[in-house]
Symmetry: C2
Subunit: 195 residues, 2 copies
């Protein structure tokens, strides 16, 4: 396959999604993020909201409890397992079809050995992320610090559960950028130049 795929993992509030969109725009290739959710909803029969909530984020309780039986062995596939299968298939189909940017959803591992990948991870200083999520999503009853930690934890657990790797660990990426230290524009430039 000669398509070149940029996968972008990102901490919550790091602006990784926006950076992905800008990179794609600059390179004139599509960026898959919300579009993946639409496709997954369509193909799985779950609602868009359910897919958005359950894909990519470990929902502890329902998830961890149902994925492992009381004795620690696997039980029947959960809804999330089904979503993972649909997600994996859709991501592989997209990579077969065209060069693109894919944000999140373990695409780096799903496409490993299946496409020419540039595996990017975007992080940012904690304060910058806190500021960003309040600006972008507003305040909620939950303290900002807890929102950040919870979302990152869910993404990390989801990634680890389905890929057996550690989310955000340097080994899994070709380039890791601190968007608050470098600025988002420079991140976009660097990624686009590497493409």
């Amino acid at each position: 396959m000669s398509n070149r795929i940029i996968t972008i993992g990102r901490e919550f509030g790091s602006g990784g999604r926006t950076i992905g969109r800008e990179v794609a725009k600059k390179l004139g290739i599509p960026c898959y993020d919300q579009e993946l959710i639409e496709k997954m909803a369509e193909e799985s029969g779950f609602t868009r909201e359910y897919v958005e909530k359950e894909s990519e984020n470990a929902s502890l309780g329902s998830w961890a409890a149902s994925a492992l039986g009381m004795d620690g062995t696997y039980t029947a596939p959960t809804n999330q397992d089904r979503l993972w299968a649909v997600q994996s298939r859709i991501i592989r189909e997209i990579a077969e079809k065209e060069s693109c940017v894919i944000v999140g959803r373990c695409a780096d591992v799903i496409l490993e050995d299946k496409a020419d990948l540039l595996r990017v991870f975007i992080h940012a200083d904690f304060d910058a992320r806190a500021k960003r999520i309040v600006e972008k999503y507003g305040e909620t009853e939950v303290p900002t610090e807890k929102r950040l930690r919870d979302k990152d934890k869910r993404r990390a657990l989801y990634y680890q559960f389905y890929t057996d790797r550690k989310w955000g660990d340097i080994e899994n990426y070709d380039i890791i950028l601190n968007s608050s230290a470098l600025g988002p524009e420079r991140c976009v430039d660097i990624i686009a130049t590497l493409y």
Copy 2:
């Protein structure tokens, strides 16, 4: 202080030192690596060989045992503690004096809040690093995999002991590059462009 300092942490065998030298050459600024060892030897009274072996690498046994007493509390400063003090002072003096590249030796933390820093970390795939150290330093009686793991472990422990941070953890760096995936020339270009 208006000097701009590039600090380069690196896995053993990743080519980080060479990348640091090339960046410095490209930017027309000095690169401190072996030069630090010379200066440290001069100012500490230890031999060059001793400084090279003991600076930056935790030498377990002598080090961990003497740094902590039997009851886990600190005892008198070790030789390595003295080297750390000399090293920290020299690195701060260099940063006061001129813009430069500094390879390893926790310069990223020593200079934090004291200079305008670009904190870089270079890593590479395990096989590429194994190949590189054999090419560069030859075979030894110790298996290559063990040499890599040991050296990284010593650097990581040293860094953690003196800085209370995790070596190679994304939080501590502005940009992290995989030199075997991107190629050393592109790493040099990216870092030089960010300067």
